[in-house]
């Protein structure tokens, strides 16, 4: 008469369980890899956009340095002349379509795509042609990544005697 015991074939069951655990570990490992990998190009794009936006902010400071009158006029019109009703800020509107204010620049790592950017100014205080404070905000976008650089600029003009 043949008798069977419950321990028969236990090793097979244990090894199958172990194998299953290892497979689960492997699958979760590959999944975590695929999650991490797409972040790398995004980090590059972020760094690229940060550096680009800083440069475009420099452009904006240059613009304010060279042609401040339109800003002063807009400040006067918005804050003193017609503080709440008028959206027409005068000659500053000429700048709105300027390539320095908004435009596109080729991605140096991928010539088939462009980064787009917009720059806005906010004049906080001004003592015309002597000392001004303004906020320059540059937003740059590339491949779905958006970065913003906001710089508070204190400008001091001195006459070169």
């Amino acid at each position: 008469m043949r008798r069977t015991t419950p321990r028969h074939g236990m090793a097979l069951v244990i090894s199958l369980v172990l194998a299953m655990a290892l497979l689960i570990f492997g699958v979760s490992f590959t999944r975590s890899l695929s999650d991490v990998k797409p972040q790398n190009p995004q980090l590059l794009v972020r760094a690229q956009l940060d550096v680009l936006a800083e440069g475009l902010t420099n452009y904006a400071v240059l613009k304010f340095k060279e042609l401040p009158s339109d800003f002063y006029y807009a400040y006067w019109k918005a804050n003193i002349a017609t503080p709440t009703t008028s959206r027409d800020l005068g000659p500053i509107s000429v700048f709105q379509s300027d390539v320095l204010m908004r435009g596109e620049i080729q991605d140096p790592n991928d010539p088939t795509r462009n980064a787009s950017y917009t720059t806005t100014y906010e004049v906080l205080s001004q003592k015309k042609y002597t000392a001004d404070t303004l906020v320059i905000r540059t937003v740059a976008e590339l491949a779905g990544v958006v970065r913003e650089v906001k710089r508070i600029v204190h400008v001091r003009r001195e006459r070169d005697l």
Binding site: M1, R3, T4, T5, R7, H8, G9, M10, A11, L12, I14, S15, L16, L18, A19, L22, L23, F25, G26, F29, T30, L33, V36, K37, N40, L43, L44, A47, Q48, D50, V51, L52, E54, G55, L56, N58, Y59, V61, L62, K65, E66, L67, S69, D70, Y72, Y73, W76, K77, A81, G90, P91, V94, F95, D98, L100, I105, P108, N109, K128, Y129
Partner: protein
């Protein structure tokens, strides 16, 4: 009469099955881990390159306009208070090469001139300002001293070799602008 003894312990066949199944499951996992490790070290080099280049670009952005020379910069550049780390930089067993291409470029700005010729004009009072109807363009194209270049385009490049990919050359580029805002 022949007695059948109850099965005790683990048979050789079971052990062999167990080892074979474990080995079969371990082989692909080991392979995936190897790929993952190679990918991680490749990503690390990529990140290091991005950090080196971003750091260099930020240093250029902090530099005085006049001190940044134009042309291809491939060796360290003295910028007065600090030096730009260009050329070969070794990190983590990889050599990264940093270089810059600096070019001065024309920039144009549109504006509407103020009629300063009018008797009512008071420089400090915008309510007296009258603007020309036709926009003008101010170009800094180096045509004369007053219109000297004001913008330098900085193109940064970092290159390195991926030795695990048969010394495949990798590169990353960034662009920014430096402007002359102090005279």
């Amino acid at each position: 009469m022949r007695h059948h003894h109850p099965a005790k312990g683990i048979t050789l066949l079971e052990i062999m099955f167990a080892v074979i199944i474990l080995a079969m499951s371990m082989i692909p996992i080991a392979g995936v881990m190897g790929v993952g490790l190679r990918g991680t070290s490749k990503d690390f080099r990529n990140l290091t390159a991005v950090q080196f280049l971003e750091g260099t670009m930020r240093q250029v952005l902090a530099a005085d306009y006049a001190r940044v020379p134009t042309g291809a910069l491939t060796t360290p550049v003295n910028l007065g208070t600090f030096s730009l780390p260009l050329g070969d930089i070794a990190s983590g067993g990889t050599t990264f090469n940093l270089s810059l291409q600096v070019t001065e470029e024309t920039v144009s700005m549109r504006y509407r001139p103020i009629r300063v010729d009018l008797g009512s004009f008071v420089a400090t009072n915008p309510s007296t300002w009258v603007f020309d109807g036709t926009p003008s363009t101010l170009a800094f194209d180096n045509s004369n001293t007053m219109q000297a270049y004001r913008v330098k385009r900085i193109q940064g490049l970092v290159t390195w070799s991926e030795y695990e990919l048969g010394a495949q050359k990798r590169e990353i580029r960034m662009t920014t602008f430096l402007t002359r805002v102090t005279e």
